[in-house]
Amino acid sequence: MEIVRQRRSKLLSLSSRLAKEKPLGTVCGIIILIMILVAIFASALAPFPYEEMHLIDRLQGPSGQYLLGTDHLGRDLLSRIIYGTRISLLVGLAVTTISVVISTLIGGSSGFLMGKFDMFLQRFCDAWESFPYLLILLTVMSIVGRGLVQIVLVMGIAGGLGGSRIIRSAVISIKENDYFVAAEAIGNTKWRAFVRHVVPNVMPYVIIGFSMSIGGVILGLASLSFLGYGLPPGLPDWGQLLAGEGRRFMEVGPHLALFPGLALTIVIYCLNMFGDAVRDLLDPRLRGGES
C-alpha cells in the first residue's frame, strides 16, 4: 500500500512539475491523451463506419456532413482517420513492447556477460546499423507479405536490435558502481546481482528511450504503408490513406492527402515534444537539443 501511495504521489508531483515547467510538453501530453481516448472509443466517435460507402458523395471536400470530406468511394475521411489513430497507436505500442523485450535481452546480456559473446554481438549490431532501416523493413515485408502481425514483428525485431546499444552501455555503466561491486562481493550469484541491481536501474532508460521512439515507429509504419509494403488495404492506417487515395486523387481531392499527413505530423510532433519534456524532468543529464 505504502509503495503504491508513494508511486502515485511521485507521478502527481511529476505531472505538476511538467505543467509548471514545460507548458508546451503539457499541451502535447494532453493531445496524446486525447488521441489515446480517440483510439479507444473510435467506434463511438467516428460519424460513420470506416468502410461505409456513400457512392453519391464521392470525392467531396470538407462539408457539414463529412467534416473532412470523402474519398473516391464516398467513405468518410474523418472516420477513416479516427480508425487510423487506433491502428497507428496499436502498432506503435506493440512494436515498442517487442523492441523493449528484445533490446533488453540482447543489450542486457551483451553488457553483462561481455567477452567474446559481446564482441560478436557488437559486430552484428555494427552491421545492422549500416543496413538502412527502411531497406531491411521493405525487403523483409516484401517476402513475408503485408499484414498486421508481420509488420509488428518485423518492426519490433528491427527496432529491438537497433536499441540494444543503449541498454548495453547503461548496463556497463551500472556495473562500475560500488553498489554492484558490493553486491557481488557479499556473495550474490551473477544472476541475482543482475536481476536485483542491474535491471531496476536500467529500466528508466528503457522506458524513456522507447516511449520516445513510438513517434518514429508510427512514421516508419506510415512510410512502409505509403510504399505499399505496410498494412493490407482493409486496415486504413494514415500512411495508406496518404498513399492510396491521397496520391491517386490529389488533383480532385487534395484533402485526401492533406488531413492524414496533418494527423501524422501533429501526433509525431506531440510525441517528440512530450518525450523531450518528460526526459528533461526525469533526468537532466539526458537533455537533448532543447536545452
Binding site: R123, F124, D126, A127, W128, E129, S130, F131, P132, Y133, L134, L135, I136, L138, T139, V140, S142, I143, V144, G215, L219, A222, S223, F226, L227, G228, Y229, G239, L242, A243, G246, R247, M250, E251, P254, A257, L258, P260, G261, L264, T265, I266, I268, Y269, N272, M273, G288, G289, E290, S291
Partner: protein, 311 residues
C-alpha cells in the same frame, strides 16, 4: 569498428534477409513474368537456377561472394541483359546528385538558423527557429512531397518538373529538376542539424577559452567566428556523416514520388517486380556505402579535434 568482421556479417545479413523467399513467390514471379510480357517465358527450374536456388544455401552464399570477389559482379538481374552492378551504376549519378544537393541545402538552412538561434538564445527568433525545426522533424517527407505536388498545381497551375535533363545538356534545367526533391530531403535533415548546431554552440559558449577570448577584449564577431563556430563544427561534421543513412532512406521515398531514376527507385521497382537479385545487390551496395561513411566519420573526428587525438 572492426571493418572486416562487420563487413562479413553485413554480407550474411543481406544474404539471409532474402533467403526466406517462400516457394510460392516463384510461382508469383512466373505469373508476373508471363503477365508482364517483358520477360521471356521462364520455367520453374530456370527461375530457381537464376535465383541460384538450385544449390544448398551455403553454396548460394559462396557463389554470391565468389561472383563479387573473383568476377566483380553483384549478380544478374532477372530482366535479361542486365547485371546488378550495371543497373546500380546507371542509376547512381542521380542519387548522388540528389544526396549532395540535399546535404548542401540542409546545411545552408541549418547553419545560419542554428548559429543565430544560439547567439540570440531565448529570443523570439530562437523560439521560432526551434519550433520550426521540431515541426520539420515531425513532418513526413513523403507528405511534404505530395503537398508540394498538389497545392501549387491547384492554386497556380504549377507543378515541379518530373523529368531529369542530363547535366551536360542543360545544367540549369538539370539543377532545377533536382531542386524541389533536394529541398524536401534537405529540410528534413536541416531540422536535426539546426538543433545540434545550436546546442553545440551554446556548449562552446560556456567554455573557459571563450571567456578568455572575450576578456582579452576581442570583438564579439571575432569570438564567435574564430573561436566558437570552429569548435562547434566538430560534432556537426559527425552528424552530417550520420545523415547518410537518412539520405538513402529518403532517396527511396523521394525518388519514387518525383520519378527520379536513381538507386532508390531502382530498389522499389526491383522490389515491386520481385527482381530479388537486384534487391540483394542494392541492399549490399547501399549498406556498404553507409558503413564506410560511418567509418570515415569516425576516422575524420580525431583529425578535426586535437583533444580526441591526443587523449
Amino acid at each position: 569498428m572492426l571493418i572486416f568482421p562487420t563487413l562479413f556479417i553485413l554480407t550474411l545479413l543481406v544474404f539471409l534477409s532474402l533467403r526466406f523467399i517462400p516457394g510460392d513467390i516463384i510461382d508469383v514471379m512466373m505469373m508476373e513474368a508471363i503477365a508482364g510480357g517483358g520477360h521471356r517465358q521462364l520455367d520453374r527450374a530456370e527461375v530457381e537456377a537464376r535465383l541460384g536456388l538450385d544449390v544448398p544455401v551455403y553454396m548460394q552464399y559462396v557463389n554470391w561472394m565468389r561472383g563479387i570477389f573473383l568476377h566483380g559482379t553483384l549478380g544478374e538481374s532477372l530482366r535479361l541483359g542486365w547485371t546488378v552492378e550495371d543497373r546500380i551504376a546507371s542509376r547512381l549519378p542521380v542519387t548522388i546528385e540528389l544526396g549532395v544537393l540535399a546535404i548542401v541545402i540542409g546545411l545552408l538552412i541549418a547553419l545560419p538558423v542554428g548559429i543565430y538561434s544560439a547567439i540570440r538564445q531565448d529570443t523570439a527568433v530562437d523560439y521560432v527557429g526551434r519550433t520550426a525545426a521540431v515541426i520539420g522533424m515531425a513532418m513526413p517527407n513523403f507528405w511534404l512531397a505530395i503537398m508540394v505536388m498538389t497545392y501549387p498545381s491547384i492554386w497556380w497551375g504549377w507543378s515541379p518538373p518530373m523529368e531529369v535533363v542530363p547535366f551536360m545538356e542543360d545544367p540549369i534545367e538539370n539543377l532545377w529538376g533536382f531542386f524541389i526533391p533536394s529541398l524536401i530531403l534537405g529540410t528534413a535533415m536541416a531540422a536535426g542539424t539546426m538543433r545540434l548546431t545550436r546546442t553545440a554552440l551554446l556548449e562552446v559558449f560556456r567554455q573557459d577559452y571563450i571567456r578568455t577570448a572575450r576578456s582579452k577584449g576581442l570583438r564579439e564577431r571575432v569570438v564567435i567566428t574564430r573561436h566558437a563556430i570552429k569548435n562547434a563544427f566538430i560534432p556537426i561534421v559527425t552528424l552530417v556523416g550520420m545523415q547518410v543513412p537518412l539520405i538513402v532512406t529518403g532517396a527511396v521515398i523521394i525518388e519514387n514520388i518525383f520519378a527520379l531514376p536513381g538507386v532508390g527507385q531502382l530498389f522499389i521497382v526491383a522490389l515491386n517486380t520481385r527482381d530479388y537479385p537486384v534487391v540483394q545487390g542494392v541492399n549490399l551496395f547501399l549498406s556498404a556505402v553507409v558503413m564506410f561513411t560511418i567509418l570515415v566519420t569516425d576516422l575524420i573526428y580525431p583529425l578535426l579535434d586535437p583533444r580526441v587525438r591526443y587523449s
